[in-house]
C-alpha cells in the first residue's frame, strides 16, 4: 500500500507545514505543470568540453548560467574543486481528490515528476569533469482542512 508522500520520504515536517496552512483551496489553484527552466544540452560534455583544457567561460558559454554552485574535496586525491549545479524539474499531471467532509476533509495530491541533475567540476579555472543523472517518478501528498478556530 502506498504511504503518503511525507511518510514515504521521511519528512513529517512537510506534512506538518501543509497542515498548518489551514484551509487551502487546492482544487481551484492546482496547476497543470510546474517547471524550472530546461536543462542545457549535454552534447558539449561529449564533444566540446575537454577536461583540463576548457575554461569556466567555455562551460558558461556552452551550458549557460548554473542555478547553483559549491565546492568539493573528495577522496582519493582530496583536491579542492568548484562545483556548478544545473537542475531541471518538471512536476505535471497534477491530480487532486477530496475525501471526507468538515474537519475530517482531506485532499490527496498526486503528480508526476521528472528531474535532471548535472554537476560540473572545476579544478582551478579549468573544467574537470561532470556527473549527471535523471529520474522519473510519481509523488503523492495529503492535506487536511483546519479545524474551525485552529
Amino acid at each position: 500500500m502506498k504511504q503518503p508522500l511525507a511518510a514515504r520520504i521521511g519528512l513529517p515536517y512537510l506534512l506538518a507545514s501543509s497542515l498548518a496552512v489551514g484551509s487551502m483551496a487546492i482544487t481551484g489553484c492546482t496547476p497543470l505543470q510546474v517547471a524550472t527552466r530546461p536543462m542545457p544540452s549535454m552534447e558539449p560534455l561529449k564533444s566540446d568540453l575537454v577536461r583540463g583544457v576548457s575554461t569556466r567561460a567555455d562551460v558558461q558559454r556552452l551550458l549557460g548560467e548554473p542555478s547553483g554552485n559549491g565546492s568539493s574535496v573528495l577522496p582519493p586525491d582530496l583536491s579542492a574543486r568548484e562545483v556548478w549545479f544545473y537542475q531541471e524539474v518538471r512536476v505535471e499531471d497534477f491530480k487532486t481528490e477530496r475525501a471526507g467532509s468538515g474537519v475530517h476533509a482531506e485532499t490527496y495530491i498526486r503528480a508526476n515528476i521528472t528531474q535532471r541533475i548535472l554537476l560540473v567540476f572545476f579544478k582551478g579555472e579549468l573544467y574537470d569533469g561532470y556527473m549527471w543523472y535523471s529520474n522519473v517518478g510519481a509523488v503523492e501528498g495529503k492535506t487536511r482542512e483546519a479545524a474551525p478556530g485552529s
Partner: protein, 121 residues
Amino acid sequence: MRLAFVNGAIVASVAAILLTVSGCAPTVAYGVKPQTDRLSQFVPGQTKAADILLSLGEPRGKGAAHPSPGLPPREIWFYEYVRSDGKTANLDLLLVFMNGDSYDGHLWFSSVDTFKKSYNK
C-alpha cells in the same frame, strides 16, 4: 553513492515544491542551512568527528561511499536545507566524508531554481 544522497535531497525539495504550489501554500522549509564557510577549517586526516559536530552540528542523515577501489569505504554525513515558496526553491546540500573518526572530504552546493506554473485556461 553520491547520487543517492544528492537525489534524495532533490526529491525532498520537489516534495516541498509540490506542497507549496499545489496547495497555494506559503513557504515550506526544513533542515538547517549548512555552515559551509566552516569547511575551510577542516583538514583531511586531522579534523575529528567531534570537531565537525561542534562546527556543523548533528547531521540529518548518514550513509557510506566507496569512492575508490584502493580505499576503504567512507562514512557520509548528510546536511541539507530546503525552502520553497511555490515560486522558487532554495536547496543547500552538504555531504561530509569521514574516514573512521577523521574528516576526509566534502561535497556541497547551494542553488536557487525558479518555477513557472501553467494552468488550464
